[in-house]
Symmetry: C2
Subunit: 302 residues, 2 copies
């Protein structure tokens, strides 16, 4: 039994277009409707046939939906929900893929009073953007975190969980505020740090940009991948999850100052002790199947 | 014509054992001698036949060498050079693979007065360590930076350049001090940041370690690879290249404070402007062949 028969995806970038591709691959009888605020994305979506139908307004896309998946930057969730509210069937369920949850839950509840909302965050992605960057296996073996507001109908939660499981994901449920703190450390802070260091390296006087690129295999290039992620999406994440991001950043800065001091005063033992601990974290991630065991991310050395 | 006929590799970890494997693959008639201060590494090196001969002292390994390649942590370069000095043939050339050059040049010149020294840094590696982690193609299409002291015999420089070219590397030459500033930004600072953030994430109270690992695909896992690099090697790098690392760290901290302030005050335009610039750096790195174009480092999503 399919959890939903008519699914609408709003926002057809990397994640939205991966959702439509995964639905096509895993639930081929579902009727898929899509919408994107950018007319050129709608044109591309039609040309590559991401959906059965691509509409020119958000409202038209949801008229007969039983599930609406919002795949827009978190700062745009409230506005797009308000835009489609009048056309949303009373029994439709709304879910989303936003990387922060407390602010999104609040925005969706305000825009869609009375609608059943089951917020979701599939922890998956690449550094690429746009309707052509998506692929059907993006959510395979990745976690999808549901953060349903208190009092949400358990049947609706289970239908949304079943939808994501059908796309290949594994489900976890937690409170929105806890989600935002966990993701602040496993995703938002890493992106912020990567954006910063790539910016720092671009702004040097005595080391040229061409040298930075040429010798990036020493470690820097790893950071550039994350720092190539979608600018609008990430601007919104940092503004929407501000408190948790600033708190994690404060802890990081304190730890960095401690290391800086250890280097300045030649305290090799302190450095060594930390570097041994961090090595063990990598081992756990590989052991638990959250990254490949191949050295250097399996990059080719031929 | 081979640049050297009898090559000794001191230190048989990831890099040293990759040098011996690459010599075997590319210059099979070279006679290879190896030494490592750790008896268990010597045993492994003998068992897996990394060299024609593995000696039990540094001195014995260099007796008839015409090239000695020092592949030990940069903090150990001076001591190992002093240990083999008495047995080094007068016409032997000494090179190394250290990640900082000014301190290494100084240590080697002090320990080996009168010896021809052509310091080198192949910008290549993985997060793994030990004699079994090496592979013959590690230096393929990677840059190897030579930092010969002023007045070094140009013929000796060319022979060492030719040696590294034979192992697959491309050669660049620069002053040791400039090398140390370039690598501080493309390699040392990224490692320091990665070690810090992995440490920060391990020390939280309200987010468990198992949650950090479980949701690491949001970006964090990329940092754990670099933070799994050899603790001794990296302790030595930070202590040996202290001034350049502290300077780059200061710039990074200033930039991070600016971003922190932008987030606190909701200045989305500042964030967006930076995130667009950093995206362009990634494009350049991929265009210049310093990283794979495949999204997500080509990780499997099946």
């Amino acid at each position: 039994m399919l959890p939903f028969a008519r699914v609408t995806v709003i926002g057809l970038g990397l994640i939205g277009s991966s959702v439509t591709r995964a639905v096509r691959a895993r639930m081929p009888t579902v009727r898929l409707t899509g919408y994107d605020a950018d007319p050129s994305v709608r044109d591309t979506a039609r040309a590559i046939e991401l959906c059965d139908d691509v509409t020119d307004t958000a409202g038209a896309s949801v008229i007969d939906a039983d599930l609406v998946v919002l795949c827009v930057p978190v700062g745009a969730m409230g506005a797009v929900a308000a835009e489609l509210a009048a056309d949303l069937p009373a029994d439709a369920i709304v879910t989303d893929v936003g990387s922060c949850k407390a602010s999104v839950v609040e925005a969706l509840q305000a825009a869609l009073p009375g609608t059943t909302i089951v917020p979701a965050h599939p922890v998956a992605g690449t550094e690429q953007s746009g309707p052509e960057a998506g692929f059907a296996t993006l959510f395979n073996h990745r976690w999808c975190i549901l953060t349903p507001p208190e009092g949400t109908d358990p049947v609706a939660i289970e239908r949304v969980a079943s939808f994501w499981r059908n796309l290949g994901a594994e489900i976890e449920t937690m409170a929105p505020e806890h989600h935002d703190r966990v993701l602040a450390v496993t995703s938002h802070l890493p992106h912020l740090i990567a954006y910063t260091i790539v910016g720092t390296a671009s702004d040097l006087e005595e080391v040229t940009r061409s040298e930075v690129i040429k010798y990036s295999a020493g470690g820097f290039r790893d950071f550039t991948r994350i720092a190539a992620s979608d600018p609008t999406m990430w601007r919104d994440v940092f503004l929407s999850n501000r408190e948790a991001v600033l708190d994690m950043l404060q802890r990081f800065s304190e730890d960095l100052s401690a290391l800086q001091r250890a280097i300045r005063w030649g305290k090799g033992d302190e450095l060594f002790e930390l570097f041994e601990r961090t090595r063990a974290v990598r081992r756990s991630i590989v052991e638990e199947g959250q990254d490949d065991a191949a050295p250097d991310f399996g990059r080719s050395h031929e």
